[in-house]
């Protein structure tokens, strides 16, 4: 066997005084909250969520002071407008009633159906030549291009006189492309296969009078026919009543976040009070209190949300936010109460409580120094996770028409209104739905991060 071949140097075998402190732990000692904050900061998802939550609060609280548009104002020129539209409007003279004689600038022979003059939002004036075998005509308007076998859209006009070959469309014109289809009718008034169609680009126009009354120009003297003015800006478009989406989203955020944040704060506080009372008292009182909370848990949540809401009653002009808040608190506290009671019972049995008691600690000290700090983390996490579920509940109830009363905007009620026009004006659904989703997502991820940061035991699990 090989002997250790190290050649000793002078002084190698001199004894030294043993010092046990040499290998003390070199990492700094941190308080619970400092440690939790460090761990939260290391969690990128949670930090991004935290910034999103802060941005949302800014959007909600400061937003209406920056974007000072009245959320109830109805801009009837811009109903259900998506964001980023062309807001140009050309000023024109008021249009007289059209009898087909005036304005027929160029009679086109090449096309059967043609425009009498440039189409605009005031009117679209159509003329057509005789169609073979036609005993009458029917005119349709569509927002989709003509396709054989598909619907031709809205029937605008029907005539059984072959001489009648003009139509002025004044109905709800918006600046976009409309597709007009003219169908020839036979003697019995049935549609024949003789069909012509035309695509019409509609330009936005306003009379000077209208521009003044809408406040787009200061006085009639400033402008002339043919000038271009710009309509009011709606960065996120308008809803089906022409109300500004951005302003409504901001005011809606106030309702949604108010319920989303205050309801959890109140019911968690109540739950903490209730649960810790039960946990401290123990015995009969504990049993009675917890049995009662079991009953409340058994109530079907949404059904009772609706029941309570109608039981509280909403008078005219009220938004119904407070009844919803109260109903949510009444129904939601038991889960927190159970959790806190469990924590208190568990902590009560811990060795450090006994040790502290042996050292002469009073109840007050035990509660302040041990109970509260040790349950605080759990409570904080509970609140964070309660926020998204409260926002969901509000949205859900408003969506089925049981939430806040119109015209008060909330994200849920905006979704409810938006889903009706989902196919034609998707932005009315997308924006509030997106805000709900982002908010809920941010609070969920923040909750995950907080739980990981505050409860080291849970770290490895998810």
């Amino acid at each position: 066997m090989t002997e250790n071949s190290y050649r000793a140097q002078a002084g190698d075998f001199n004894p030294i005084i043993a010092d046990h402190r040499i290998q003390g732990i070199s990492r700094p000692s941190l308080s619970y909250w400092q440690d939790a904050w460090l761990r939260l900061k290391a969690n990128a998802r949670a930090m991004v969520s935290l910034y999103i939550v802060i941005a949302l609060l800014f959007f909600t609280i400061a937003g209406p002071y920056i974007w000072t548009v009245d959320p109830a104002f109805q801009d009837l020129d811009q109903v259900s407008q998506p964001p980023n539209i062309d807001r140009k409007a050309t000023l024109i003279k008021p249009y007289p009633i059209w009898d087909g004689s005036t304005g027929t600038v160029d009679v086109k022979d090449s096309e059967t159906l043609y425009l009498a003059q440039a189409a605009n939002t005031e009117s679209v004036r159509l003329l057509w030549h005789v169609m073979p075998g036609a005993e009458g005509y029917r005119l349709y308007r569509n927002i989709f291009p003509f396709e054989q076998g598909q619907s031709m859209g809205l029937p605008l006009f029907t005539t059984f006189s072959p001489q009648n070959r003009l139509f002025e469309d004044l109905l709800d014109l918006t600046p976009r492309t409309f597709y007009y289809t003219l169908v020839a009718l036979n003697a019995t008034g049935q549609e024949t296969s003789e069909v012509v169609n035309i695509a019409v680009e509609v330009q936005r126009v306003l009379t000077i009078e209208q521009a003044v009354s809408k406040g787009l120009v200061d006085s009639a003297e400033e402008v002339d026919v043919g000038d271009v003015v710009y309509l009011k800006l709606h960065p996120m478009g308008t809803d089906y009543l022409g109300r500004d989406m951005l302003a409504r989203l901001m005011y809606g955020a106030r309702i949604s976040l108010f319920i989303g944040i205050f309801a959890p704060l109140i019911f968690v506080s109540f739950g903490v009070l209730y649960g810790s009372t039960a946990g401290f008292m123990g015995g009969k009182i504990d049993q009675v209190l917890m049995r009662f909370s079991d009953f409340v848990v058994a109530l079907p949540f949404l059904l009772f949300m609706i029941l309570f809401k109608i039981a509280f009653g909403i008078g005219p002009g009220e938004s119904g936010v407070m009844p919803m808040l109260i109903a949510m608190v009444v129904l939601s506290w038991p889960s927190t109460a159970r959790l806190v009671r469990g924590q208190i019972l568990q902590i009560r049995e811990e060795g450090y409580i006994a040790a502290s008691r042996l050292l002469g600690a009073k109840s007050r000290y035990l509660i302040m120094r041990h109970m509260i700090p040790n349950t605080m983390g759990v409570i904080l996490v509970t609140i964070t996770f309660a926020v998204p579920s409260a926002i969901f509940t509000e949205a859900f109830l408003s969506f089925i028409g049981m939430g806040v009363a119109p015209p008060t905007p909330s994200w849920g009620s905006m979704c409810f209104e938006g889903i009706k026009t989902m196919l034609t004006h998707p932005h009315e659904l997308i924006f509030p739905a997106l805000l709900i989703s982002i908010t809920v997502l941010a609070f969920n991820l923040l909750g995950d991060g907080l739980r990981d940061a505050l409860d080291a035991k849970m770290r490895s699990r998810e």
Binding site: L299, F301, L303, P388, F396, I400, C415, S460, R461
Partner: protein, 310 residues
Amino acid sequence: MRAYLLKRIVQGIITVWFIASATFVAMHNVPGDPLMDEKATTEEIRKNLMQKYGLDKSLFEQYIIYLKNMSQGDFGISFTQQNRQVNDIIREHFPVSAALGILAITFAAFGGILWGALTALYRNRLPDIVIMFLVILGVSVPSFVFAALGQLSIVSVNNLVGFSLIPVAGWGTIWHMLVPSMVLGMSTMAYLTRLMRSSMLEVVNTDYIRTAKSKGLPATQIFLQHQLRNAVLPVITVLGPAIAAITTGGFVVEMVFAIPGLGRYFVEAVQQLDYTVIMGTTVFYGAFLVFMVIIVDVIYGFIDPRVRVG
């Protein structure tokens, strides 16, 4: 086991009584008169109606009559649809909601277990990251958005194939149920996936999995017989509350897809202040949920030997 079951049933009955009482109290605080909208406004007809519905008696008497009827499973007659028993309404509309709910919970449970197991298996790798991202979306997007997306996708599928392959709304065939039940089960599935994943990861680190490895068992056998079985248990315990969530979540889906279920009927009844229908439906749902939780617990007892004997 029998004693346990008996105890649970007695508890359940007391809970249902509490739900019924809470419903009664809530409904009798509703401002406005249920007979306000009646066309017959002469004093005499009004009196007759009051008498018919027992509204002229004292509140306590009403409560006793109400409890007596409820205990006999008699929920009374609808206020707005004369001559229609609330029982008949429930009998007609509940099976629709139940069919939808059963399909949704099946979808959620199997999907949740499958995806959860998959994410745990591929922990921190691409499938895990992708699925967990979708899960986070699943719990963050409101159900009505899923419903809208579901309808949109039906429309686009129908456009793609050129004919109406899947009905956009309504009720009748299995095709009507397909998309609504998926939409309905979506958030529950996301929740169960999360639960299953953490449960799997917890089980993977247990001593008995280490024992199974030390026995030289093949990886698939360890996965199926030791890991999966134990990981599924906590998922089963939450199925009771999950059924509750899905049942009430049915409101939105039934509304968007125009499905004649009890949820939609309940919303209509609330709008018309149809007292008896509201009370009957609430108590019925409450009782249904209480006993679903008991049934899930009993089934759990058969699966987990620790509960079965204890």
